[in-house]
């Protein structure tokens, strides 16, 4: 198939009120809300309906329902979230999130969700790192699956209602499976539609819609070791950038300390934190329990300094300090990284995580059944007898599209974002369990925001035909360059992953990141000329060629922002600036696109937190994060208020 | 033929009716052979009308194939519940109960699987195309009658009670003294297995509590359901074990009754 033959093709054309790109938790919740507001809604997904990455979430969905501990409320949840994000969070988002999460979870029950129960029949809640009280609604270790299936079934239920009313299941909600969006259209500065292709046929499709909700998830596929699936190519981030929207906090990536490193097929897949909580210890190739060497000064009086004391903690946590294996995620990830770099790693480039020495096989099977099966089936390792090999894995991006907290709208009118692809909510580090609740709270708000935005329009912006032609040509570019002998996109992709993994990974240095930026420029040139073989029907190398430019743009934002932020905070660790700096707390790094494959970075002042929210914290704690100037001002306001 | 190899519906065009490389044909073949052998043995024994009771010995072993022995042709001591069936050569002495036992097993959810696969080849094994042009399953007569399984289960419970009675009676010798021999142990083991098979029935699981939606409101029935569910997970094993135990029990009693061997006595 040649490009010229294809440009003359008839392009399938749809018109909707709201188009939701992405069918994970956020996208589906947004679509449900838009439909409940009476809007004709399209759901577009790169995979099949119901396969989104949300299924990978295990732990649970944080919501201060107070079912297990009645002391819990939204204020405690809010404070935990801010603390976890090192106070860089958009406080308004964190506030809305903490306040609305319980309603969003209860709502799921009316859709048919079956959470685990407390003895009095309420939704059970479990403890998790960073949460003061048991707070995570869960279903065993498959909460994400329950969430996605419930939302999927709610959409089917709405379609059944529409069928009963109109005779057509798809009169209000239509799902476009295996469809990739490559371009957003704007007319007079407002969103007017989008463009993409059906993966099975390779045929193009165009959607005219005044409101688009991005819910495309994360960017993990820019890294070589990640717990993310192939879909996580930062599509929403890149689409937003190219449409003129901005990204914030892109320097903050969460690396989970324990991912599988062997066999290659599962490299990066998560090994749950509970393994360490239940007594798993980390050792290097010399058999040394190395975490004792990595206890930073601020943690010295909180963690055990000898193996004997650490061992006693498991049975007597009140009178002993916790073992250093349970340091925060970033600390453990850095330590493992350092051991491997020093040549004390395991044969496959990780360290050993051993739970067999402390727990009996029966206890392991009871407490960690899915981990046992994961290692048994995928790695042929019996964790009741042998240690696991683990290493850090790229897990979650805190950064994302800059949005208005209440409506989810970006700086581009008509463009909304929710879930992992939006930014601000989690600050510099996300607490476990806060992502599922994030999806629900802001998915709904985006659906509502989009519906209200559509209602407020006088006239719908019309898609420019010239834009459609340009989008078609860009999508077909990899076939055109095939004649000129470009590179295989898989090769360029691997190069990109390697660059990001090695040079903008867990521990960052100025010179390495400068090198990374140079390499990214080089990769940008190569990515523009990658070529593909075969036709357009379900052709994975064409798909990758198009995804590649998204990953590239996003990687540039990550690298530039990481180079700019000269401090260490949450998911951003600088070897050359190892401490947190209150001056940097006030600063957001905002990324915008310059042309097809370059980005611009600007600083933006953080909006000061509302005084009543600041009052939820002790002054001693605030002093660690805020400048004296900020707090002085707050005290003055508070005193004024008292008068 | 099978749609699997028929490309008209847009399926991948592959001529082979299966690409399985393992010995998928073995389990259905094995099951077919074992079931045929068992049915052959049981048929011969049911119509034999001899060597079903230890008439010449001091103890009372009655084979389950002849229990309850309702025919006027039965040895009087073997008929615990009276005699009223005519003694015709083509009428098994236990003609009242045998059909129910047969139907209980014939409509059993496990045996259905086994014989649909082994005899009907529907399907012979998973992902192996079946040879039939059409398929309606259990949607119409006669197979819709499989839904009557629970009535045969009720009958099987009554018959199991009778079998249990036979086992108890067998501990009392003809002279009224207590007796214990290998035959008693075999009869006892057999009846325990028969109970286990009967209780583990899927219909039983439903009746006990499976049909409830609120286990929490019926704690005792829930407990019973949990127990039945555990047994139910072994329904297949129990189905085969009871076929074996029935055959062994019957054969042992036949051998003792015919005088080929003498019972190993422990007491009396």
């Amino acid at each position: 198939m040649t490009a010229s033959a294809a440009t003359s093709e008839e392009i399938e054309h749809h018109t909707f009120d709201v188009v939701v790109i992405g069918a994970g938790g956020a996208g589906l919740r947004a679509a449900i809300e838009a439909r409940l507001q009476g809007k004709r809604t399209a759901i577009i997904t790169k995979s099949l309906f119901g396969k989104a990455h949300t299924v990978m979430a295990e732990g649970g969905c944080a919501a201060a329902m107070g079912n297990v501990n009645p002391n819990d409320n939204w204020k405690v949840h809010f404070a935990d979230t801010m603390r976890g994000g090192k106070f860089l969070n958009n406080w308004r988002m964190a506030e809305l999130h903490a306040k609305e999460a319980p309603d969003r979870v209860w709502e799921l029950e009316t859709y048919g969700a079956l959470f685990d129960r407390t003895p009095d029949g309420k939704i059970s809640q479990r403890n998790f790192g960073g949460h003061t009280y048991p707070r995570l609604a869960h279903v065993g270790d498959r909460t994400g699956l329950e969430l996605i299936r419930t939302l999927q079934q709610k959409i089917v239920s709405l379609q059944q209602e529409d069928h009963a009313a109109t005779g057509d299941y798809e009169s209000y909600i239509k799902v476009f499976h295996e469809t990739t969006i490559t371009e957003l259209f704007k007319t007079d500065g407002r969103i007017s539609g989008c463009f993409g292709y059906f993966r099975p046929t390779g045929k193009f499709v165009r959607f005219d819609a005044p409101a688009i909700v991005l819910a495309t998830g994360g960017v993990g596929k820019s890294y070589s070791v990640t717990s993310n699936s192939w879909e996580y190519t930062g599509d929403g981030h890149a689409l937003a950038l190219r449409a003129g929207a901005t990204l914030i906090n892109m320097e903050f990536l969460q690396f989970h300390p324990t991912g599988m490193v062997w066999p290659p097929s599962v490299k990066g897949i998560l090994v749950t934190e509970s393994v360490r909580g239940d007594g798993g210890v980390l050792r290097n190739s010399e058999g040394k329990r190395f975490m004792f060497d990595y206890i930073a000064d601020v943690f010295k009086n909180l963690y055990a300094t000898t193996e004997e004391e650490a061992d006693r903690w498991y049975t007597d946590p009140d009178n002993n300090k916790r073992p250093p294996e349970l340091l925060p995620r970033d600390e453990v990830a850095r330590a493992i990284n350092a051991e491997v770099k020093a040549g004390r790693g395991s044969p496959h480039g990780g360290v050993y995580l051993d739970v067999s020495t402390r727990l009996s096989p029966e206890q392991i099977l009871k407490r960690l059944p899915s981990m046992y099966h994961q290692f048994k089936e995928l790695a042929d390792v019996d964790i009741t007898k042998e240690p696991m090999e683990v290493g850090p894995t790229c897990h979650y991006v805190m950064g994302g599209i800059e949005v208005d907290p209440d409506t989810g709208m970006s700086v581009v009118p008509g463009l909304f974002a929710a879930g992992e692809c939006s930014g601000g909510m989690h600050g510099s580090n996300r607490l476990g369990g806060n992502s599922l609740s994030d999806l629900l709270v802001f998915g709904r708000r985006c659906g509502l925001g989009a519906a209200q935005y559509v209602d407020g329009l006088d006239a719908r912006p019309q898609v420019q035909e010239a834009d459609v032609v340009t989008a078609t040509e860009r999508a077909l570019l990899p076939f055109t360059t095939a004649a000129e002998g470009g590179e295989n996109p898989f090769v360029v992709h691997q190069e990109l992953q390697k660059t990001m993994h090695e040079l903008v990974g867990i521990i960052r240095k100025a010179d390495e990141m400068e090198l990374a930026l140079k390499k990214l420029e080089d990769i940008a040139v190569r990515a523009r000329t990658v070529s593909v073989t075969g036709g357009r029907a379900f052709n994975p190398n064409w798909h990758l060629a198009l995804d590649l430019r998204n990953m590239l743009l996003v990687s540039m934002c990550v690298a530039k922002a990481a180079l700019e932020r000269k401090e260490s905070r949450g998911g951003h660790t600088r070897d050359d600036y190892p401490v947190m700096d209150p001056e940097w707390r006030k600063v957001l790094l905002v990324c915008s696109a310059e042309g097809e494959d370059n980005v611009r970075l600007e600083r933006k002042e953080q909006v000061p937190m509302r005084p009543d929210l600041l009052d939820l914290f002790e002054m001693d704690e605030l002093k660690k994060y805020f400048t004296g100037e900020e707090l002085g001002g707050h005290r003055a306001t508070a005193q004024e208020g008292a008068k | 033929m099978s749609s699997t190899t028929d490309a008209s519906a847009g399926r991948a065009q592959i001529a082979e009716r299966t690409l399985r490389t393992d010995r998928w044909w073995f389990p259905p073949l094995r099951d077919a052979i074992l079931l045929v052998l068992w049915v052959a043995y049981a048929t011969v024994r049911a119509f034999q009308q001899d060597w079903y009771f230890t008439a010449d010995q001091n103890y009372n072993y009655l084979t389950p194939f002849y229990s309850p022995c309702f025919s006027v042709g039965c040895v009087p001591e073997a008929s615990h519940f009276g005699q009223f069936l005519p003694d015709w050569w083509f009428l098994p002495y236990a003609a009242i109960t045998l059909p129910f036992l047969l139907l209980f097993r014939l409509t059993c959810y496990y045996y259905r699987k086994a014989y649909y696969r082994a005899f009907w080849l529907s399907p012979p094994a998973c992902a192996v195309a079946e040879p039939h042009r059409t398929y309606t399953g259990e949607t119409r007569f006669p197979l819709i009658a499989q839904n009557l399984h629970r009535y045969f289960f009720y009958a099987a419970v009554i018959i199991s009670v009778i079998n249990t009675y036979d086992v108890v009676v067998a501990f009392i010798n003809k002279d009224g003294s207590f007796g214990l021999g290998l035959g008693n142990l075999i009869l006892l083991a057999n009846v325990i297995l028969l109970w286990a098979y009967t209780i583990s029935c899927h219909s039983c699981r439903n009746i006990v509590a499976g049909r409830l939606n609120h286990f929490s409101k019926h704690p005792l029935r829930y407990k019973a359901w949990t127990f039945v569910s555990k047994l139910n997970a072994r329904h297949m094993e129990l189905a085969w074990t009871t076929l074996a135990s029935l055959a062994i029990t019957d054969f042992y009693i036949m051998a003792v009754s015919a005088g080929w061997i003498s019972d190993l006595r422990i007491v009396g």
Binding site: D120, S265, D380, P540 | A12, Q13, Y109, Y116, Y135
Partner: protein
């Protein structure tokens, strides 16, 4: 450590297709999906395959490996001998799109035909109270990752295309069972299970259970209990009589 395996991969579309032989390198610890990816990166860049999580959690990479319906990401290469030819084909019950990718829309159609959860009219969000023992059965069925291996392997539709219209398949009959056992669902689904969704087609030959990667006991815990519930409703004169006499014919009572 590594060796060269012989792979036979079905390449083609709905018009035509054939098994193509590929020699391909296999490294220690790999699964079939890794080898498919290696083929994409080397000899067959346009080889179509569906996959997502690569950890057996999303149910995308369903295919038939040596004739057995399986997830490619959960099939380890060391389950084959090094000299064994590994044949992989698309699912054979659904129309093929290209290579290893099939059109699974049958399943979405069937999903839409099962009436959704009917929330109790008298309870508001947050007021739901359910006991753990009452939700556990349905929770087992909700482990389903919708890989459609059971739908693919069930001979009712695999061997008889004409039954597709009348038969929901194991996955959606299980969905009916899940809702029927839900402690708060307000709908009655038994009659419809038999009359509209084709429960009677199931002859409980258990292939759905055999291929389920989540080890859900589909036949024993969902399909047979559902059949028994249908018997309660349709074929049991004792229960019918009891309901007549005690006037318990209404839906809620029947569900207790």
């Amino acid at each position: 450590m590594s060796y060269w395996a012989r792979f036979r991969v079905w390449r083609g579309d709905s018009e035509k297709g054939e098994l193509v032989d590929y020699p391909v390198e296999v490294n220690e610890g790999e699964v079939v999906l890794d080898v498919v990816h290696r083929l994409q990166q080397t000899e067959a860049p346009d080889l179509a395959v569906r996959w997502n999580c690569k950890a057996g959690k999303c149910g995308s990479c369903s295919m038939e490996i040596n004739g057995r319906p399986r997830l490619a990401c959960m099939t380890r290469m060391n389950t084959f001998a090094e000299d064994e030819v590994v044949t992989i084909t698309p699912l054979r019950t659904f129309p093929v799109i290209r290579d290893l990718v099939t059109d699974v829309s049958f399943n979405y159609t069937k999903a839409r035909e099962v009436p959704a959860f009917a929330p109790p009219p008298d309870l508001k969000p947050g007021e739901y109270r359910m006991q753990q023992v009452d939700v556990e059965r349905s929770q087992e069925f909700r482990k389903c990752i919708e890989c459609y291996l059971c739908q693919n392997t069930c001979h009712v539709v695999r061997d008889h295309e004409e039954n597709k219209q009348h038969f929901a398949g194991p996955r959606y009959l299980m969905r009916i069972a899940e809702l029927d056992m839900h402690p708060l669902d307000a709908a009655d689904r038994k009659r419809a299970a038999q009359e509209e969704h084709g429960l009677g087609f199931c002859n409980i030959t258990k292939c759905c259970t055999e291929v389920c990667p989540e080890n859900i006991k589909i036949t024993d815990n969902a399909l047979i209990p559902l059949k028994e519930r249908v018997v309660d409703r349709k074929y049991d004169p004792l229960i019918w009589l009891g309901n007549k006499i005690f006037k318990r014919g209404d839906v809620r009572a029947a569900k207790q």
